[in-house]
Symmetry: C3
Subunit: 245 residues, 3 copies
Amino acid sequence: MFCAELKSDTLKGIVNIISTLIDEVKFTITPEGMTLKAVDAAHVAMIEMDVGKGAFESFTATDSEIGLDLDKVKGVLKLASSGDVIRMEQDESHGRLVFKVGNITRRMNLVDTSSMSDPKVPQLSLTANISVSVDELQKGIRAADTISDHITLKAGADYFELSCEGDTDSVSLRLGKDVLPALDTDSEVCSMFPLDYFSNIVKAVPSGTMVNIELDNDYPVKLLFGLADGNAKVNYLLAPRIESE
Amino acid sequence: MFCAELKSDTLKGIVNIISTLIDEVKFTITPEGMTLKAVDAAHVAMIEMDVGKGAFESFTATDSEIGLDLDKVKGVLKLASSGDVIRMEQDESHGRLVFKVGNITRRMNLVDTSSMSDPKVPQLSLTANISVSVDELQKGIRAADTISDHITLKAGADYFELSCEGDTDSVSLRLGKDVLPALDTDSEVCSMFPLDYFSNIVKAVPSGTMVNIELDNDYPVKLLFGLADGNAKVNYLLAPRIESE
Amino acid sequence: MFCAELKSDTLKGIVNIISTLIDEVKFTITPEGMTLKAVDAAHVAMIEMDVGKGAFESFTATDSEIGLDLDKVKGVLKLASSGDVIRMEQDESHGRLVFKVGNITRRMNLVDTSSMSDPKVPQLSLTANISVSVDELQKGIRAADTISDHITLKAGADYFELSCEGDTDSVSLRLGKDVLPALDTDSEVCSMFPLDYFSNIVKAVPSGTMVNIELDNDYPVKLLFGLADGNAKVNYLLAPRIESE
C-alpha cells in the first residue's frame, strides 16, 4: 500500500536528478519514506537517494516497491503548476499508480521491477571536502562547453578549481575561500571526469542548492546535496577518467 | 468595394481559428460584416464564422467575396503590435487587398474564389449543453497528450469529463458543476473525437473565452464561442470517431 | 603588447556587427584603440570599424595585430552577464589571448593573420543622406520577409522608403520627415540590395541606434553608425544588385 501527496516542485526536483542517469526507476517504499539506488547503463555514475516522509505533504505506506517510467512522470509534472500538490495512490489490483493533480486523474501502468537489482554503493573515504553553491558549478560548466569532453576538478589548501584543457584552448574557474563555505584538504587533489555526466547532474540541481563535494586523486567524485528543504538526500558518485587509459 | 479597419488582436483571433482547418479562405462580405463557412480537406471538421460590423473599428462594404491566403495574413499580423489598428482596402482593379499597418503598406494578391463553394452546415439538435472556460479544455488537452490519438467527451447530470484511454495508461479531467457555468443534459452522453482536431481548435481559442459545447452519443460535437467581445461568433463542428469502425 | 578591459555589452555589440560578414577577424591594435577592415567571402559587403580607447574601461597597447575566431569570442560572451567587465590580455609567448570574466580564465589560441590582408575601402560620394533609427529599418525588414530576396531603398525630397516587390505581392515602409532626424537629397535616388545582407546588418545594430544612410542610383549604400556611446564607429558598405544584370 502506498498513498502520498507532495508538492509538484518536490517531485520535479527528484525526477530531474534521477533522469540524468536512467529512464525507469525502482523506488523502495517503507513507512518512513522512499529510497532509490541506481546506476546508469554504462556504469559511470551512481545515485543514492533517500526521500524522507518529511518531503511529503502526507505519506502512508507499507513496505513495497514501485517501478516508474520517468518520462511519464514528467508528463504528469507538466499538468501541475508550481505549488500544486500531486497525489499518488497505488492501485494494487491493476498494477497502476494513480496520480491526481487538481481535477485531473492520470492512471499509469507500473514498470516491472523484478529484474531491477540495487547496485552496491562503494564506501569511499576521500581526501578533500568542498562546500560550494551549485550556481558556481553551473558557471564552470557553461565555460567548459566546446573546449573539451572532460572536466578536471582540483582542490588545494585555499582554492577549488574546475578546468578544461583543449588542444589549443583552455578555460578554468577558480574559486577562493571567499566563495566556498567549506574547504578542507590535507593535500592538493585532482581528478578528471566526463563533462557530459558532470554537466547533466550539475544542471539538474536546483539553483541555490549547496553541494558538498568529496574529491581525491584519480578517484570518483562524490556530490552530496539535499532537495525539498533537506528532507530528501542525494549521494551522486561519478567515476573518474584516468588519463593513462 | 471593401474597406475596413480592425485591431490586430481581433484579426489574429479570427485567423488563428480558421487556420486550424484551412490555408485559403473565402470571406463573404456584406454591408453588415463578413461571414465564412469552411470545411477541412478531410471533411472531419467544419467552421461557420460571423464577424459583425461591431468587431471592426470602421467598416464600409458592398456585397462581395474575398479570397485570402491565411499564411500571408499571418505575415501581416507579425508587423503589428498588440493594440495596433490594421486597415484593409480592396484594390479591385488589381485584384488585391491592401493592408496598412502604421507606415507599412502590404499589397496582397487575392485568391481566386470561383472554385470555393460553401459547405452545407448540418442542423443538429444535441442532448447535452455545457458551458466551460476554454482554459479547462486546454488543461484537459495537455493531460491527453501522449496517451492516445482520441479524446472522449462525456457529460452527465453533474459533471463534464474529458478522457483518454491508452493501451496501458489513461487520463481524465472531470469538471463538476462548481466550475461549469452551465450544464444541462437529459441523460449521460458520450462521444469520441480525433485529439489533433480537438486540440488545434481548443488551443486557438483565446484564454478566458467561455465555450458552449453541445454533445450527444456518437454524434458530432458543436463548439460555440465568441471573439472580439462577442462581435464575432464561431460555430465549430467536429465529427466523432465511432469505435465500431 | 595588448591588455584591455571592456564591458561585455560593448564587446558583444562589436562582435555581432563583424560576424554578419566573417568568422575570423584581424584587429589592428595601436595605443589609441583597435581598427578593423573586412570584406565578406563573396565581396558583396565591407565593414570598417574604429574602436577608440574610450570604448574600453582600460586600454594599454603597443602596435600589433590580433587574429580572433569570433565564434569562440561569442562563447566567452555567454559567460558574462550584462554589465560584467571582460579583461583581455595578450600572452605573446604562447600566441594566445587570455580572457578573464569574474573568476573564469579563458585562454584562446590566436588566428594567424599573415594571410589576412586589409581590403581597400572605396571612397564614395553619394547623393542622398538620411538619418533614421535602426528600429524603423528593422520594421521594414520584418515586412520584407517572404516577399522577395531583394529590398529597394529609395529617397526623395520628403521621404525615405524601403520596399520589396514580389511576383504577385509587394510591401513598402514609407518614412516621412516627421520620423527622420535628417533627410537631404538633390534628387530622387533608388538602389536595390540583397535582402539577406541588409537584414543581417540591420538586425545586428542595437535597438535605439541612429543610422546614417548614404544612397544613390544603382550604387552601394553606406551605413554609418556608432557603438559604445559613439566610442566605436562603424562604416558598412553594401553593393547594389543592378536590375539589368
